[in-house]
């Protein structure tokens, strides 16, 4: 309640031209980010993208090779982790095995010189929020994965950190628990109001939790934006393919000027574009999400159904259009079978065109 309290919680994190090398390997390449106070910021990327490294740089567990990191306006490059007032939840929680839950949570207060009474009240307060009051006397090994996760969260939050760092904290939980923990985490973060940086490789987790997502690949920030923006306007092919499940369909082809309008021409079909304008003719990749391909009776592209996956609320169809296989999401259930011939149409305003050379989005 002392020690930095609410002023700490408002902290902003700025990552400025940060490069991190391990030997000759460049883990992060000139990364720039601004993480606003109270934001739920997700670092999203496949394994090896550098997202955990970036988190560890913010925590102070690794040295920065080049660039600077600021927390709450203060440059922290040379500040040790213990003086950054950051809290971290590790992927496997790293609870101290020889201490019980209470001590695991209390230790950070104890070493910071809190009084016994203050420790007791802080721990019981946070234990209440995280619903772990009844396991305070247990050792970590006696706890389930979900309980361990809550204890790790409690340990991180008990001293009101300026920045709350989470390294794939949900990946050790089973599927059902993960979804529960996700919404719990979201509301917890809102309640506590602490600036949060969350690392994950799971795009649906990122979409569900984040106010802002930064997509990383091979040490480079591909795009930063809110979930809506990332889903509807991914700026490059990597982000387009990474966000969304099932993944966006990618069809190689050409943009060709056809009189006053434009056409997308692939090996197997071509689509007249009515409302879309381009500067030049390009070799492109057309990105179209499964839910933006519709089934039509006539005047569509011929396709053959390879597979039908009825999920209940939606039905996924794998269809063959010439040499490419596409995924179609149909809302509701539909009686179709593999082998049937159908016709489909793309929703034009949802079609995204990527320059095949630069892999960047061409739509404005």
């Amino acid at each position: 309640m002392d020690n930095g309290g609410s002023e700490g919680i408002m902290s902003e994190v700025i990552v400025e031209n940060v490069t991190k090398k391990f030997g000759n390997f460049v883990a992060l390449d000139n990364v720039n980010l601004t993480i606003k106070p109270k934001e739920f910021f997700v670092l999203l990327g496949p394994s090896g993208s550098g997202k955990t490294t970036l988190l560890r740089l913010i925590a102070g567990l690794e040295d920065i090779t080049e660039g600077s990191i600021y927390i709450g306006g203060k440059k922290v490059n040379d500040v040790p982790p213990k003086d950054r007032n950051v809290a971290m939840v590790f992927q496997n929680y790293a609870l101290y095995p020889h201490f019980n839950v209470f001590d695991n949570i209390a230790l950070t207060l104890k070493v910071r010189g809190y009084s016994k009474d203050a420790i007791k009240s802080r721990v019981s307060e946070i234990a209440k929020i995280l619903h772990i009051e009844d396991i305070l006397n247990k050792k970590p090994r006696e706890l389930s994965g979900g309980q361990q996760q809550r204890v790790a969260l409690a340990r991180a939050l008990v001293r009101e950190p300026s920045v709350f760092l989470l390294d794939e904290p949900l990946s050790n939980l089973d599927a059902k628990l993960r979804v529960e923990a996700r919404s719990f985490l979201r509301s917890l973060q809102k309640e506590v109001g602490v600036t949060t940086v969350f690392v994950t490789h799971d795009q649906s987790e990122a979409m569900a939790l984040a106010t802002t997502i930064a997509v990383l690949d091979k040490g480079i920030i591909k795009q930063v934006g809110d979930p809506y923006e990332l889903y509807t306007k991914p700026k490059d092919i990597f982000t387009a393919g990474f966000i969304g499940s099932p993944a966006m369909n990618m069809i190689p082809g050409k943009l060709v000027k056809d009189g006053s309008s434009w056409r997308f021409v692939s090996e197997d079909f071509s689509v007249q574009l009515i409302n879309t304008e381009f500067e030049n003719e390009y070799d492109v990749i057309l990105g179209i999400r499964p839910e933006h391909i519709t089934l039509v009776k006539d005047d569509g592209i011929n396709a053959k159904i390879n597979n039908v996956e009825p999920m209940g609320a939606v039905t996924y169809l794998d269809i063959q259009v010439g040499s490419v296989e596409l995924t179609v999401q149909y809302t509701g259930l539909i009686k179709l079978e593999a082998g049937m011939e159908i016709k489909v149409k793309f929703v034009e305003e949802k079609m995204l065109f990527y320059d095949r050379k630069t892999e960047k989005l061409l739509n404005v």
Binding site: K82, Y96, H98, L107
Partner: protein, 285 residues
């Protein structure tokens, strides 16, 4: 295959070990008990144990053993522990070199080590006296003989303690230290709250193995002082040897061995109980 057949086949496979165990462990232990309770005339008797009560050399040996034991454990364990902690936190280039140097005594035969110390402390041409420019007659002095043996013994076994504790320190997951640094612990606090509790079980194991090794010590006394001067460096293991192979009283030597076994047994049991190490090793909840 029915159950009996399975057991029979299992026995065949286990037979080499069982036979080895019977010949080299069970039978000698049986003999130990048998001789312990046999009088000079060959009859069953408690005479060997009655004799212990009236045996002043045994008293001397026990006291010497206690002196030798406490001195050795104190020196070896603390030095080995400190060396391990220092080397574990040292990150310089010479780390591997230091570690290798510390291993060396473990690779040398005890008899060679004993002879080496015999030379080092030799009263006429030993380098210690020469360098100190004194003539202390280390091994021939009532007061200095035992400390000298403790010193030589320490040189031999500090690496043993070091090795085990260093391995324990190395096996503490890095993540605990990271969590500790984020939790705000200083170096000392990290050592106290993370390192020490983490290596506690392995420290107890090291302590026990070290204790047992020390109690079994024999070579140094045999080579350096042969129990002297007087009986001042008679330790129990050496005394048992003397009784058996100098006085050829196998029955009494067996009884003394039995006593020794009981003492070690009680000691080990007490350490395990006091340290509640079973709990840490997951043997018992």
């Amino acid at each position: 295959m029915n159950r009996n057949q399975v057991i029979k086949i299992g026995l065949v496979f286990a037979a080499p070990l069982i036979i080895y165990f019977l010949i080299f462990f069970i039978y000698p232990i049986y003999l130990l008990f048998k001789y312990s309770f046999t009088s000079a005339s060959g009859a069953f008797s408690f005479i060997n144990f009655e004799n212990m009560i009236r045996d002043p050399i045994l008293y001397d040996s026990l006291i010497n053993t206690l002196y030798y034991f406490i001195g050795s454990v104190a020196v070896q364990f603390s030095a080995g522990f400190i060396a391990a902690v220092i080397l574990n936190s040292y990150t310089g280039r010479l780390k591997n070199a230091f570690r290798s140097i510390l291993y060396i005594p473990l690779t040398i035969s005890p008899i060679v080590i004993a002879l080496m110390w015999l030379i080092i402390f030799n009263p006429t041409y030993g380098p210690v006296d020469y360098m100190l420019d004194m003539n202390l007659n280390w091994l021939g002095s009532m007061n200095l003989a035992m400390p000298t043996i403790i010193l030589a013994n320490a040189w031999e076994y500090i690496p043993f303690v070091f090795l085990i504790i260093y391995a324990g320190l190395q096996s503490v997951p890095k993540q605990y230290y990271e969590a500790a640094s984020i939790d705000g612990m200083s170096r000392f606090q990290t050592f106290r709250y993370i390192t020490l509790p983490s290596i506690r079980p392995i420290m107890i194991i090291a302590f026990l193995l070290n204790s047992i090794g020390i109690l079994q010590g024999f070579t140094l006394v045999y080579v350096l002082t042969n129990g002297g001067p007087g009986f001042s460096t008679y330790i129990l293991s050496f005394y048992i040897y003397k009784v058996a192979f100098t006085y050829f009283n196998l029955n009494y030597a067996s009884a003394l061995s039995l006593l020794f076994l009981v003492i070690i047994g009680i000691y080990v049991y007490a350490i395990l109980k006091l340290s509640s190490v079973e709990k840490y090793l997951g043997i018992k909840k």
